[in-house]
Subunit: 348 residues, 4 copies
Amino acid sequence: MPKIKFETDYQEGAHPKILERLTATNLEQTSGYGVDAHCERAKDLIRKTINKPNAEIFFAVGGTQTNTIAIKFLLNPCEGVVCIDTGHINVHESGAIEATGHKIITLPGHNGLLDAGDLKKYLEAFYSDPTWEHMTPPGMVYVSYSSEYGTLYTKDMLTKIKSVCDEYNLKFFIDGARLGTGLMSEATDVNIKELADLCDVFYIGGTKNGALFGEALVFTKPEKFNLRLFRTLIKQQGGLLAKGRLLGIQFEVLFEDGLYFENARHADKQAMKIKNAFTEAKIPFLFESFTNQQFPILTKEQNEKLSKEFDYEEWEPLDDNRIAVRFCTSWATTDEAVEKLINAIKNL
Amino acid sequence: MPKIKFETDYQEGAHPKILERLTATNLEQTSGYGVDAHCERAKDLIRKTINKPNAEIFFAVGGTQTNTIAIKFLLNPCEGVVCIDTGHINVHESGAIEATGHKIITLPGHNGLLDAGDLKKYLEAFYSDPTWEHMTPPGMVYVSYSSEYGTLYTKDMLTKIKSVCDEYNLKFFIDGARLGTGLMSEATDVNIKELADLCDVFYIGGTKNGALFGEALVFTKPEKFNLRLFRTLIKQQGGLLAKGRLLGIQFEVLFEDGLYFENARHADKQAMKIKNAFTEAKIPFLFESFTNQQFPILTKEQNEKLSKEFDYEEWEPLDDNRIAVRFCTSWATTDEAVEKLINAIKNL
Amino acid sequence: MPKIKFETDYQEGAHPKILERLTATNLEQTSGYGVDAHCERAKDLIRKTINKPNAEIFFAVGGTQTNTIAIKFLLNPCEGVVCIDTGHINVHESGAIEATGHKIITLPGHNGLLDAGDLKKYLEAFYSDPTWEHMTPPGMVYVSYSSEYGTLYTKDMLTKIKSVCDEYNLKFFIDGARLGTGLMSEATDVNIKELADLCDVFYIGGTKNGALFGEALVFTKPEKFNLRLFRTLIKQQGGLLAKGRLLGIQFEVLFEDGLYFENARHADKQAMKIKNAFTEAKIPFLFESFTNQQFPILTKEQNEKLSKEFDYEEWEPLDDNRIAVRFCTSWATTDEAVEKLINAIKNL
Amino acid sequence: MPKIKFETDYQEGAHPKILERLTATNLEQTSGYGVDAHCERAKDLIRKTINKPNAEIFFAVGGTQTNTIAIKFLLNPCEGVVCIDTGHINVHESGAIEATGHKIITLPGHNGLLDAGDLKKYLEAFYSDPTWEHMTPPGMVYVSYSSEYGTLYTKDMLTKIKSVCDEYNLKFFIDGARLGTGLMSEATDVNIKELADLCDVFYIGGTKNGALFGEALVFTKPEKFNLRLFRTLIKQQGGLLAKGRLLGIQFEVLFEDGLYFENARHADKQAMKIKNAFTEAKIPFLFESFTNQQFPILTKEQNEKLSKEFDYEEWEPLDDNRIAVRFCTSWATTDEAVEKLINAIKNL
């Protein structure tokens, strides 16, 4: 019998409504590369959702691609991007940012989050260093919402980061690979409109929230940027999908009736059940997360037992007897799977 | 009433069998990034098809991405790729190759094809130039099969290019964005096994032959290359699809019962009907093509008439009264659409 | 006995006055990287010479480096630089521009010169191509003064190119590796002040005009650019000389009493004598040049004879019996060497 | 009266013997780009010095350039270079490595030195991480000898690093910007022949040891590498000096009679005098250095006093009252300057 998988939030295909719509529209003839009515409608739906009628929106296939394109665009040739050491672009994108010629400037993270105070201190030190011309000047700040550790910035934290960015003329970019589960978390105090206000650019992750693939990159203050060649840049980076409407169609389905948020709410709800089960079993966590990634710390024995029935990620060995692991839920996580897991936790 | 579109071969979704299979497998749980049974089976099917049990195969989402990854991998840091002036990488990929740091060295094309004699002459001149160390050394040759103009290399032409490549230690890469319609053309004298033998690397284009997206990059002589980090390179270039099995599933459907070739045969057949109609109407062609791209030369009047009912690409104005245009067929081109077009041609 | 060398204009060291000054200042202690009084004075001398009190000037070591830095700075990430096919950056810089991620867009040259009409035609075609978003958008124009073939733009030609650049919002950059011999040529109708007006950026080549090394990159309209990070960019490209004052000192010597122009005038004068000798011997030229590069077309026999006593560059075989060669003069070319060559030409 | 400068080891010109030789050879005519008898002789002198008759040697102008070229050459496209956090390439080269597309993978330093144990632990963790394909694979190790903090690896430390490199198939590169002062230090236990054995590539820094400029990059095991295009790579990175013989001539002078080592010995000797003076004054150091960089920790008051007469680098404020500073000596540091400094230290 195959194990039940809690490894990631992209182990199934797409929400059935997306496949249905792709099937229904399959024989339509449209122009390629995202110049079609589906893409236009999807963009309008997103603009409405974030309450930014002038937002400029571009679709790309995956997260690494989207990050790479955005950061390449936002930086001058010799600038770098500021990011915490555990940021996705720094750890898990195979050097994609550096491949475009830019350094990632790392600051220490706090439970997966960048601290505005750290940022400010770094910037002060940078510009007071008499050799700064020989160093990599920061051009932008990158954070993830929700973070790689499932944790969340408060509105106040984002506001403070934004304010440091403004002071030092840095662009502020939010990686939203897991935006949905962040915004739907019971622990958040920020909504998508506020988040859009608080940054220059962010992306709405589709891949990890019910789409086959697809991320929507949103310039919330397009008047700040010259976007004339942005589609050419996407093409140059290999990100302009020939059948571009596939992206439009998926985001139409996700945003026309709130499916994007519903999917995320479901993932969070299932994660909270799992979190509670671990808590009740007195099993501690590596991070306190209120989103769809949970990082319990298992003993060797517990890990051996659980891993017979379930697949999940071994995150980080802590010592000879303890290992932090990651359980991930998604729009597709069934009640049945969660119940089985909860029972197994009870029996540890 | 919307016009009938002959603009490209990627204006519909996917062959219905692909959507059916995606739907049937939708709730399967698999690991991400192409490490799954579907991808493995698809690779095996391709290996069998090309009769290369040891071929190494990697999937990527689109053509520009696949070209970029392959070329970045095949070249040393200061080498360039040789390509005819009208080659896709030189003209229509927004400088994606140069963005990886490599020069494209252009030779004149002949009806969209590279001539082995030209190649040899260039190489002789290059290495007899006393200043060659200051120039870009060629590291590989890029051709497209079928070409950007719908034309085809004969087996003899490919053999001669391969032989020059071997003499000068150049890698030989074939862009197969439109491989299917090339191989199924009534005018070809090469099959997929021979083509695989004649190059080091080629890719099997899915996007333009019935897939939603997807290209299969095939190293036919993997013993020549160190591919240990190839997946990391794909990731770095933003080409490692999270739900990687989507690529596997599509290539399974395309290669388990010959659908890939069937799709291409259909496209070619429809193109030949259109070609005949233009020929009967005494309308000349820019290139003699026996594949799914046809380039008739229309008068201004003919163009105005046809464009009322049909969408097609305006390729190149030839003079004040004549314009070369492109009609493209695909797996999805209906008999009805072709008949309407033929009637319209008759009435020009 | 060693042959007399007319191969290049950088086969000797530096003008003796430069070595003297380097010796005289050798034990001065200055800060590194060009932040010193010599560099400041050299910049002021250049500003005076070109009559641009606000010009921003940066020094770099060599020509390829200077071109690379300037072009990397002037282009947006996906833009390319327009250049004739024989332009130095396209042919003899080992792909340095592409290594920064940018495509060189080539137009046909006319005796080594770009034609404003060609440029305009290309730009019109580019922006009327419906697929332009998939192509490399031009961001700037590169020309050399004097050209790689020793030929010269007239003021009118430069004015026309500038005007096309302005119309299409392209930056205009002049490679002045051989600026001196261009400006001192009997055939020029433009002076350095006019040239500075006619472009956005140009560089004053020291290496080929009497310096040990060194080029001065001049932003003549600095208000158009954000140069805050330019020194960091130079550093990033490996062009910020530690003992930066060496560049300042050399340009001080070259520009404090007109040595720069004197050197070039000498080179041109010697070249004209050689030109006359070939002309009198009824030996034709590949290009009509009035600067320090002369391209006579020799028969095989003439070439064999001359090459016994003299080194010069074999430029391009024209047919089995004729070869174009290049004779180069410089600030260091002696009367004696020229007389010997003239005698040899007479005896061909 | 100008202050006496102890800011860096490149604040004067060149050792007088170098200027004399440049003057003596000034009117020689040689071919460009390092293809000349001076460069050949200089290479032979270095080969003899390191006892490696087959070593391949290339000259470049500066340190950042040399590092960039070497690292770009040694890495596969998606590999990174391992370096301690304070390594020169990571901190003070304006992102030059990243500009070639490669990530710098940082490990913590210990007094400016990489620990073989840290390296091994990192490599074990990397390859046991199931997601390593999504990370940047290490391709080489970079260390500096002497280090950025004036500290030195022992033979044992280098041997251990080399052994980890061999185990994991990493190339080992030593940045020798300050090689001379390292090798001549009273605290070293390694000589240049041993150092050459212990790495794959290193460079002999000229700029900071008496040359006007120039670094000699030495491949000590050239049979491991394909160096056919290395000069082209240098050219591509803007590092191939036109008057290449200037590099050859300088290294001839430095290596024909041991001047290279004499210069370094002098610098170290002067530094030790300064070190002693600080020690006698009970002033502590940030690092214990036995080379030409000394890092005393001054009180605010001491700093104010000393800085009236002397220029030196303010390295790092430690708290409100204490600052670490750097005093640098060189081949040119006079006894008189050192005595003045010592007196000033005594009077603190």
